[in-house]
């Protein structure tokens, strides 16, 4: 077990190392993330494995007896998302042992998130852990690591004010919509896809009184269900381009591998309403909307990074609380590290 503990690792490609253009190439579908986890766990070198896959991070947590496991994990991740090793090496981080523990705790508590202090990541970590555990890919070390990280996250949140003053993507979108349209009572929203962030953004806009919300998704049933929950209407995904001119705010969050909305389609819609602006929110990864549409007059495009940067503008004022949270997490990580070491030593003595 001492060998195992020495090789606790996390390979990560997150918003800290990779810009949006790289992250969208690194992104895994849920099926690919599960397949990668199974592939790695099937290796003799790797005893436990969890893959955390969100729009801002792809991380592989694992336990290995082999010090050279890093190259193997990197190769498997590259093979799975079809990127070169050079690209991954340039935009990724590798933590081991105590650093890996500290990193997992910071991720769970939202300190490592793009919008510092956000709470969605905790749910995503829990889901990744539950999936891995259900697939028998976890063991005593990763179980303990993830469960303790959830507890540490809770402690950091309750004992500090890291979530206070934190701005959500939805609130940022509402502020931007106000800067574009003034009031939102005449604004019509089109939601393309049914991603979680997009749905929350639409809900924020709805709470500020937008005229109506329309949902377009690949499966009409999904569109209908989401539209019903938002009090709006559903349209076929194939129809949205033709109806684009009717909308003022477009939120896109599909899992499509390519562009959903290109420059020519938007330019044609703008031509039909030259004195009304378009507010486009692209929270998909890979991106759904051609980034060059921002060059069109009257089109204002914001992607995940743009929204997160705005949300983090008050970070300086929250720095003291963030530092306090980091200190709490460090102490939790250190305690867990000592516990794991103690267990290892006892196991070694018993073995001898």
């Amino acid at each position: 077990m001492s060998e195992v503990l020495q090789s606790l690792f996390v390979l990560g490609c997150t918003h800290h190392q990779a810009p949006l253009e790289v992250r969208e190439r690194m992104a895994l579908t849920p099926e690919n993330a599960a397949a990668l986890r199974q592939e790695l766990h099937a290796l003799d070198d790797i005893h436990e494995c969890i893959v955390v896959n969100t729009c801002n991070r792809v991380e592989v947590y694992g336990l290995s007896a082999t010090p050279t496991v890093e190259a193997t994990v990197r190769d498997y991740l590259c093979a799975r998302n079809g990127v070169s090793r050079e690209l991954l090496d340039a935009h990724s981080s590798w933590h081991t042992n105590l650093d890996a523990l500290q990193h997992a705790f910071e991720v769970s508590s939202g300190l490592d998130s793009q919008i510092v202090g956000e709470t969605d990541i905790l749910g995503q970590m829990k889901n990744a852990y539950a999936d891995a555990r259900a697939a028998n890919c976890t063991g005593i070390v990763l179980n303990r690591l993830f469960e303790k990280s959830f507890q540490a996250a809770k402690a950091a949140r309750t004992q500090t004010g890291i979530t206070r003053g934190q701005v959500s993507i939805g609130n940022v979108a509402v502020d931007l919509a106000n800067r574009i349209f003034g009031h939102l009572r005449d604004s019509r929203v089109l939601l393309i896809g049914s991603g979680d962030v997009a749905e929350k953004t639409a809900q924020s806009l709805k709470s500020r009184g937008v005229a109506d919300i329309t949902v377009a998704s690949r499966t009409y049933e999904n569109s209908h269900t989401l539209a019903h929950s938002l009090g709006g209407a559903a349209i076929e995904l194939s129809d949205f381009a033709a109806q684009l001119k009717r909308f003022d705010i477009v939120i896109s969050s599909t899992a499509a591998p390519g562009l959903i909305l290109d420059r020519d389609t938007l330019a044609a819609a703008l031509k039909q309403r030259p004195d009304r602006p378009f507010f486009l929110i692209d929270v998909a990864l890979p991106r759904d909307i051609d980034s060059t549409v921002n060059k069109l007059e009257n089109a204002y495009l914001y992607n995940l990074d743009d929204l997160s940067n705005i949300a983090n503008e008050n970070l300086e004022q929250r720095k003291a609380e963030i530092d306090r949270a980091r200190t709490i997490l460090k102490s939790h990580a250190w305690n867990l590290w000592l516990q794991l070491r103690r267990r290892t030593l006892m196991a070694t003595r018993l073995e001898s």
Binding site: R179, I180, F181, G182, D275, R276, N294, N298, Y300
Partner: protein, 286 residues
């Protein structure tokens, strides 16, 4: 009553311009420390500047016994005065944030520049409008329309600043206090239409005078005035047809206002030439 006032017209106008510039600097400082300026303070400063400017223009009017629009200095002061008056009418009604700040800046610039260039305040014979009420109405309306175009230019500048912030993802400082791009665009459109209506009315009254006294209106002045009017009319027509919208509309509005302002000097020079060449006509009309 005006005879009892101890300060001269120029001094009163100078105090007015200084207050406008102080209001503008107050706004700049507030924005630099990233705090919105208190609207009441900006409003009070502008009222102070406006009162002194009104006093100065009244004293000047009493000196020349007519509407003080006889040289570029007076025209600039009158435009600045009308601009602030329009702000008092429009600002509170439409809650245009930062318009007070921009108005103070432009009014201070116009009034201050006029004070700093002595040549602009050259003497001219009294009764320049020949006691004709139509031509005085024409001049007052024309200047008022220029003030409206000044407000349109300010609103357009605010639109371009807000659009720049949105396109470049900038949010701190000036950007957060500006109205939305759609509201600013709509405001500029409405004010522009109103300005063109007022200028058209001014030209109709001027045309009545011109038909009766064609020798007293220089062709150059007539041409430039018609060019300014035609320019604004084209912009309005294109805007209504939605062929010139938002950014291009804002740029056209600012460009036309600069042209209108720049045309004042040669127009005034042409009028002065006519006035010196034909003193007899003035005496007759007096």
């Amino acid at each position: 009553m005006l005879e009892e006032i101890v300060i001269s017209a120029r001094e009163a106008l100078a105090i007015g311009a200084s207050i406008y510039l102080s209001a503008f600097l107050f706004g700049v400082l507030s924005l630099l420390i990233r705090k919105p300026y208190p609207r009441a303070a900006m409003f009070t400063l502008l009222i102070g500047g406006f009162l002194f400017q009104t006093l100065g223009l009244n004293l000047r009017g009493a000196e020349i016994k007519g509407c003080p629009l006889g040289n570029i200095f007076e025209i600039s002061q009158f435009i600045a005065w009308s601009l602030v008056l329009l702000y008092f009418l429009i600002g509170p009604a439409f809650k245009l944030r930062l318009l007070g700040f921009f108005t103070a800046g432009l009014a201070g610039l116009l009034a201050g520049t006029a004070l700093l260039i002595p040549n602009w305040d050259h003497p001219y014979p009294p009764g320049i409008f020949g006691g004709n009420p139509w031509i005085e109405l024409h001049a007052a309306l024309a200047i008022f329309s220029y003030a409206m175009f000044a407000i349109v230019a300010l609103v357009s500048a605010m639109f371009l600043i807000q659009q720049h912030g949105l396109k470049n993802k900038q949010f701190k400082g000036l950007y957060q206090y500006l109205l939305s791009v759609q509201q600013l665009d709509l405001m500029a459109k409405r004010l522009l239409i109103t300005g063109v209506v007022v200028l058209s009315a001014a030209l109709i009254f001027g045309a009545v005078f011109w038909i009766n006294h064609p020798e007293r209106v220089p062709v150059f002045k007539l041409t430039v005035t018609c060019l300014v009017w035609a320019g604004y009319l084209i912009v309005v027509v294109l805007r209504i047809q939605k062929r010139l919208a938002t950014r291009r509309h804002a740029i056209a509005s600012i460009g036309l206002f600069i042209f209108a302002l720049a045309s004042l000097w040669p127009v005034q020079s042409a009028r002065d030439t006519i006035a010196t060449e034909a003193p007899a006509v003035q005496k007759t009309s007096e």
